[in-house]
Assembly symmetry: C2
Homo-oligomer: 233 residues x 2
């Protein structure tokens, strides 16, 4: 161990062997982002030739990444016709938010029971940063931290399966929320709910946290549903 350190390597690279970034993960990430950010809109056929050229890879790894995304539910595989970006109707979104609410209610309970104090403090820190961006009117940063807080609450629940399915649904919904630009008063209400959440978590009040998380997401549906009127498939 000391011989290694004597080589002058940074300590951060010691514990884990150098992991060459796998192309597969990169491609999955790139495609996911393209879909979430709307560069590939719903219904679009993914042309393997074009996409491959665009991303600088051959069709083989690209196809593998597409299959991965298909299992994730972001694209749909049509026999002999390739993959198309999945289109979500209003009901789909509502359903996903229902499940997400249920999952976060569970996460809240678990987090209150098993999270360590520093983890809760970390969420408080994220929240404070989010509020600063809110006050500055920076919607993009606000949304990012908003998502991060929800993800983090699920993470500190200590349930890996829960984190996984939650992440999956959240990924699918990112595309939608990206568009959701609510008015000032609703935005303020959302921030207020977040404040409640953090307070409940700090008090380790499972019932209250669970309730706020559920309410928060039900209101999220109301906020989003206006945008989606008639967007059914």
């Amino acid at each position: 161990m000391d011989e290694i350190r004597s080589l002058g390597l940074p300590e951060s690279s010691l514990p884990e062997p150098i992991r060459r970034t796998a192309l597969h993960d990169t491609l999955v990430g790139r495609l996911r982002d393209m879909i979430i950010e709307g560069h590939l809109s719903p219904g679009t056929r993914l042309n393997e030739g074009q996409l491959g050229q665009m991303l600088g890879v051959s069709r083989t790894p690209l196809r593998e990444a597409i299959k991965y995304l298909a299992s994730e539910g972001l694209v749909e595989l049509v026999p002999s016709r390739g993959a198309v970006v999945k289109r979500f109707g209003a009901k789909d979104v509502k359903d996903m938010l229902s499940v997400l609410a249920t999952l976060e209610e569970l996460a809240g309970r678990l987090a209150c029971a098993s999270a360590r104090d520093e983890e809760i403090a970390e969420i408080r820190a994220l929240h404070d940063r989010m509020v600063r961006h809110y006050k500055a009117g920076d919607r993009l940063e606000y949304y990012k931290l908003n998502q991060a807080i929800h993800t983090r609450i699920v993470a500190i629940s200590g349930n890996a399966a829960l984190a996984e399915v939650h992440g999956m649904l959240q990924t699918r919904l990112k595309r939608i929320r990206f568009v959701g630009h609510e008015g000032a008063e609703k935005w303020a209400a959302a921030v207020g709910e977040h404040e409640e959440m953090v307070a409940a978590l700090e008090a380790r009040d499972a019932d209250r946290l669970s309730e706020v998380l559920g309410r928060h997401l039900k209101k999220a549906w109301e906020r989003v549903s206006e945008t989606l009127e008639g967007a059914g498939r």
Copy 2:
């Protein structure tokens, strides 16, 4: 041929005619079954050459299927080392069952609210068939119908996202439950809970159905946990 045996596969699962029209889906299904039924045990490396030869396909579609399963969580991708069958520890299983319970509680509520009468009748029919297999002592058929009932309850909840994540977790757990051979009295208790479930559904008593489903899965954990003692990764 000996190389094939080195994967731990029985010869009975060797080649088979493969439908030319939906190879990807077929491969995913075959591999999934091989994992669930234990022909590919946890920790096993998936050798693309051998598997491909065994299934009569080239590596390309096989790799695509593997990537799909990776996203499903049945296998794990290790850079430069291929895919290995994921290994679940006791805590993983417990976590999955927690989430599954929460999801089924939600499904039960939704089903009571929105299922059509014939859908409920269909579940009653499945239940009756299951009870017959129980009385005949046919564990395999019993388990299959047991699963089918839970899946069906989730399906008639009318929430597609819920059905999807539920199916995902259930698939991962199938491998575990396959092994779970509980004693006679616990088996009887499980059947009793099922009877309660169907009754609550027929009465459209959401609270009661939700409660029974949750209780049922918590007991499932107790039944399974004995088998898994010290099976942590």
